[in-house]
Every structure is written in structure tokens, then in C-alpha cells.
Symmetry: C2
Subunit: 396 residues, 2 copies
């Protein structure tokens, strides 16, 4: 009796596996600044909490597999505020962005088939690829140019007869890169030419700085039937634990299959759908101060790190992550060391080793991902502690 190969091979979460060392540091009385996980400290908006507290159904019953119509309507309204003609019947509410990824992978590809994804990428793509037995073909980007997308020819070279889709995550977790229209158009022309699906993971849509805005892959009308959008309220409204996301497509055939996947798991959580509805009904004004807060943090982090000798850094344009190169050989060892062997006045910093965001073995070993999810004071202090740790580590 053996467990399945996929059960053995699925990658443990590279972010979570260092947690035991963090727990032990805390036991020793060390304060840890957590820059390793994308858990924002921004309070969940009051209308969202209020919707939970005023939940007044007598029976928490099954809802529709595709989610409550009211919520799908509110999400359609949100997209229309971006001039994107999304209808409630293009939307299936999912259990976080996670399920939206899983459904997307499963609807475009059968076991063994391929999805091209620029790496480094959101580490849970790996998990879902194992789970759905789909092969991720990485397009390896570089910290040196701020993770810009390759030329059309270089992307094209990755396409095989097994390729079923290309996935673009923008604003990007873990790099903070926002793809320009020109970069996106390289991919648009390829999915058209090779008749592929294009999965757009756009959960950080609002988190774009310097007065720029995010261009959605769904804005390209000529490929609209090839687009599947992965969406989530987790970061948008600072409610990661609510597990409400969405998968959106105007391809009717894909929608029908996604709906059948959704029916198999009955429905998304009823209470938290009400919370999500309250979130979307707040309107678009909610985002401005949140965006300003993150832009301020981005600036603090970038300014604090950019002059450290040996650090390779580009200013991220969106999301709330950055991947930087460090003058070290093994960032996992460094991150662990920061938890086990280092503190500055009883304080240390936890970041995420970047190797887990690559699927090419050996890549990202001298890089870390930093999530700027702390307030200004904590962020400034954590940069000092990080610098002190890095300096000491390099001299070991």
C-alpha cells in the first residue's frame, strides 16, 4: 500500500516549511517581523465584518454551485467599473483564488499536458499542477532586468503540441512586476496564433503604483473566448481567510465544464459570500487609500534595500512583493539562520527563500521574496534588522 505518486511528489509549501524555526525563535522570546507571507495587516473593511455579524439565516444551507447571483452581479459591476463587459453568468465563485487556479488548470489541460508560466511564479501553481497532474513549462525570467517578459520568439520556443495554455500573473506575485501592454500583446498574439487558452491571474489588480494602471488580458476583445481570469477577494479586501475567489470566462464551453467542477463540490461558503458581497458593494473608492498605503510601503522598502552592497533590485510596480538577489549562495540557509542564529535586540526578520517560486531546479537560490505587509514603522525597523542580519551572515 503506497500513497499516490502525486501525493508523494507535490511540493511542500516553501513558505510554510520554515514555520517550525520561526515558532522556536518565538519560544526564545525573539520578535519576528513576518515579511515572508502575503498576509496583509490592513484591517478587513467594517462592512465586510458587519455582514458576517449580521448574518441572519436560520439554516446555513447550500447555495448555487456557481455562487449567489447577487455576488456574481456585484463582481460583474466591479468589472464594468473597469470597462470590462463581464456578466454574472461568466462568473463562478470559488473557494479562494486557489480553487480558481485548480479549476482553470483542470479545464484547459489533461494529465501530462502543458501550461507555460513565467517563473518565478506563485508557488501554489506547483501544488495545483501536481494535484491536477499538469506539467508547468517555465519561462525563466531574471531579477537582473526586473523580471520583464521575454521576446515573442523566446516565449514561442516553449510552445509544444502539448501546450494548452499560457498563464500570466500581473501584477505579479512574487516579483511585483506589472506587465506592460506590449508585453501582454506578445502573449496575446501567441495564444491567437497557436489557439491556446490564456489564464490571467489578476488578483492584485488594484495594487499598481506610480499612477499607472493594470491592463487585463480580458481587455483584448479578439481573444476574449480564450481567456480565463483567476480572481480573489483575499488581498483586494484584506480577507484572506474568507476563501472567496472567482473564475471568469466568456468561453461558454469552458464555463459549462467549470460549472460541473463547481457542482462536484456543491457550493462556496455561504456566510463568507455575504461578506464578499458587502465588500464589492463598498464601491471603487475603497481602493485609493489602500493603494497609497502600499505604495508608501513599497517606497520605504525599495529605498531601504537598494543601496545594500551586493543586492540586485528593481523597483516593483505592483502587488506587495519583491524578489531581490542577495550576495549569498543559499537563501534557504540564510532565512533559517536568521531565525535560529541571529537577532538584533531580540528582533529578527523572516522572508521567503525564492527557490520555491521557481520550478527550474537550482534557480532562485540567491534570491528572496519580501512581502511588504507591515505598517511603516515596523517595515522600517525590519529593514534595519534585515540589513544587520545580512551583513553578519555574509561575514560568516
Amino acid at each position: 500500500m503506497n500513497i499516490s505518486k502525486r501525493g508523494q511528489e507535490i511540493q511542500p509549501s516553501p513558505i510554510r516549511k520554515l514555520k517550525p524555526y520561526a515558532d522556536k525563535a518565538k519560544e526564545r522570546g525573539i520578535h519576528i517581523y513576518h515579511l515572508n507571507i502575503g498576509q496583509p495587516d490592513i484591517p478587513t473593511p467594517q462592512p465586510v465584518l458587519g455582514a458576517i455579524q449580521s448574518y441572519d439565516e436560520k439554516v446555513i444551507s447550500y447555495g448555487p454551485a456557481q455562487g449567489f447571483l447577487e455576488l456574481r452581479q456585484a463582481i460583474a459591476d466591479y468589472y464594468r467599473a473597469y470597462d470590462m463587459p463581464v456578466a454574472p453568468d461568466d462568473i463562478i465563485i470559488t473557494l479562494g483564488g486557489s480553487e480558481a487556479i485548480h479549476f482553470s488548470f483542470s479545464v484547459v489541460a489533461d494529465p501530462g499536458e502543458e501550461i507555460i508560466i513565467p517563473e518565478p511564479f506563485y508557488t501554489n501553481y506547483n501544488g495545483y499542477a501536481s494535484f491536477a497532474d499538469v506539467k508547468i513549462v517555465p519561462l525563466t525570467l531574471s531579477v537582473k532586468d526586473g523580471f520583464r517578459l521575454h521576446s515573442k520568439e523566446e516565449i514561442e520556443a516553449k510552445i509544444t503540441p502539448q501546450t494548452k495554455a499560457i498563464l500570466l500573473c500581473s501584477p505579479n506575485n512574487p516579483t511585483g512586476t506589472v506587465y506592460s501592454p506590449e508585453e501582454i500583446e506578445r502573449v496575446i498574439s501567441l495564444v491567437k496564433e497557436y489557439d491556446l487558452f490564456l489564464i490571467g491571474d489578476e488578483v492584485y489588480k488594484e495594487f499598481v503604483y506610480d499612477g499607472q494602471s493594470h491592463k487585463s488580458v480580458m481587455e483584448y476583445e479578439e481573444v476574449r473566448d480564450k481567456i480565463i481570469i483567476v480572481d480573489s477577494i483575499s488581498k483586494r479586501f484584506s480577507c484572506c481567510g474568507a476563501r472567496i475567489g472567482a473564475v471568469i470566462t466568456q468561453n461558454k464551453e469552458a464555463y459549462q465544464s467549470l460549472l460541473k467542477f463547481a457542482q462536484a463540490r456543491l457550493c462556496p461558503p455561504s456566510v463568507e459570500q455575504k461578506a464578499a458581497l458587502a465588500a464589492y458593494r463598498m464601491g471603487m473608492d475603497y481602493f485609493q487609500p489602500v493603494r497609497e498605503e502600499y505604495e508608501k510601503r513599497r517606497n520605504i522598502l525599495f529605498d531601504g534595500l537598494k543601496d545594500i552592497p551586493g543586492v540586485v533590485i528593481h523597483k516593483p510596480q505592483g502587488a506587495f512583493y519583491i524578489i531581490i538577489g542577495l550576495p549569498i549562495e543559499d537563501s534557504e540557509h540564510f532565512v533559517k539562520w536568521m531565525l535560529t542564529d541571529f537577532h538584533l535586540n531580540k528582533e529578527t526578520v523572516m522572508v521567503a527563500p525564492a527557490a520555491g517560486f521557481y520550478c527550474t531546479p537550482g534557480k532562485g537560490k540567491d534570491e528572496v521574496r519580501i512581502a511588504y505587509v507591515l505598517n511603516e514603522d515596523d517595515l522600517k525597523r525590519s529593514i534595519e534588522v534585515f540589513k544587520a542580519g545580512l551583513e553578519k551572515y555574509i561575514k560568516l
Copy 2:
């Protein structure tokens, strides 16, 4: 560009696909008694709703992938009340029983491998089998003997080198059968002999009537490392929409893989885990009146149906479903007809055609599943309406 084979082949929910006809009947002013879906009318217990209404976190943040320790402890306590030594670290909180099924299938079998399941079975096993690309090998039971399990030899004949697990659902959805210890032991001896996993879907554990009790597959110590339990609060505490379930195993290797699957989707919903915690903390006394209510309904339904000429029926021992044979050729046609062509004083009844609960083509076409999820008066009335409809249909 085609959608995946699994996306095309996944079976639409046989329960939900007749919904449009029900919607149209309602538009015509017909009242429908819904005996087609396992949505209990029992109110969600007040402490559960209270836990939601008093949710007081400032940020709905990510919880642990395996679920909150407090909740896992409360579930372990619940199992200990049944003298089953389940520990918090044997438990992973899932997104309903649905995800527990999906995780179980994925951890025991790789694409193309087999799981033996007595049919008729819970229809969403089909969905998850497609989704995980696992093959269900049915062991076809018969309405004529109340869906009793076959002899050891007949079950054994289904085992091939590809077989990775046997799944037993008891108390059974959709048949209402509760397997006797002797029936369970046939399977126990086979999983021992052939070194297979045994998945126990025991979400209806409390719903056993006539003073009997349910024997869990986990009570067999000699195979404890081969057992994976699928569990859920949906029916137990009448909160189907909360999407809180659990997968439980004492096989450490399987647990580690299940945990990695869980990490890929980050965490179960935070708010509804608090609701589940309140549910488990109510203690075991909660179940007695609920069980009595369902036992009364079971008796009303059985007594109301047993003397209808041509109906093949056995008294179900548990859960809140029954599958009966009808003197008709195509129960899907009959169910649809009850919605489109029949009413008795503006009332009709919706039941579920049983074919969707079988994976062997052609099976169950003269059977329907009835869920006794209505109160006494509605149930009595719905039996009258059902009888009148059936009589009229037979004479067509």
C-alpha cells in the same frame, strides 16, 4: 483550442440538472416538495449562528492549512466520545466533505488507478473521480435486498493490480443502508489481504435508527493505518453551506501528503471554522432529538410508500435517504413529468432519478432517491402527491 477531456467528461450533477424544470413549475405557481436534495430543514443550532454573529477578528486572515488547532481538538474530542482515539494531528479541516473526498481520492490513487465503490453511491464521487482522473470500479448492489454488501468473494473479484482503495459510505447516501459489522469485516479482511486503503465516508454517523449504532471502519485497530475517514459538519449540524469537513487518517505518510494538498489551497474558511467549533462544543446531547426527528420521518416515509403497488422498498437504517424501485421504465422522464405535466391542487413533488447514483450505464433507471428532509406534515402531504402522480403516470 479545446477544453480538457476531463472537463468534457465530468458528469453534470444529476440532482441539479432538473432544476430548470422545477424553476418553471414554480413560475406557474406550483408548490414543489423538494425531496430531491439532502438539504435538511432542521435549523442550524443557535450556538453555531451565534459564533458567526460574534465574530470579532479585525482581519479575516489565513489560518493554518490543516485548520485551527482548537477545532481539530474539538473534533478529536467528538471522536473520543465514540471511543475512537483520534488526535488533532490526525485531522485536516477541509472545504466540506467534498474536498475530503477529492483529497482522499488523490492521495490513494494516481490517474488511471482504481477505487472500488459499492453503487449506487453519492453522485459527487463521480465528479471527483473525473477531476482526479481516477477510475471508480462499481460493485453493483440491488434495491431488492436493500442494498446489502456482497460476499467477500464477489467484492474480491473486483480487485485488480490497479486497485488502490475501497470506499465504504455508511450510513449510506443514497440508499440509507447501514452496513453491519459483518459486512464491514468482509472489506476489512480484503484491504488487509491486498494491502489497500479503505476510505470511510461517515458523514451521516449520527443518523442511525431503531436503537442501532454505526460502526466506524476506524474501530478496526489492525487496519488503522489503512483508513482514511471523510467527514463533514454539513448534515451533522445542519449547516451545509458552511463548507467545513475533515479528512482524518492515522497513516502518517498519507497525512503528510494530504497536508501538502491542503497547503496548496492555503486554508479552510476562517469564519466558518469558528462556527464549526461552536457546533462541536455543544456536546453529544445535541444529536438525540435530531435523530428522533429523522427516525419519525423515516417511518412516515416508509409506511407511506411500502404499500404502493409495484414499489420495491426496504426500510433504510440510517442517513435520510432511501432508494426505491418504481414500476416505470425511465425515472428521469417520470421526475421531469412530475414537474412539467402534473400537479395535485397546485402541488407536486421533486425526487432524484437514481441513474445518476450509479456509474454502470443503464442501472437505476427504474429507481428514484428520496431525501426525507421535510417536516412531518409536509412529508405526509408530499407522499400523497407523489402517490397520485405515480398512479397517473403509470396509466399514461
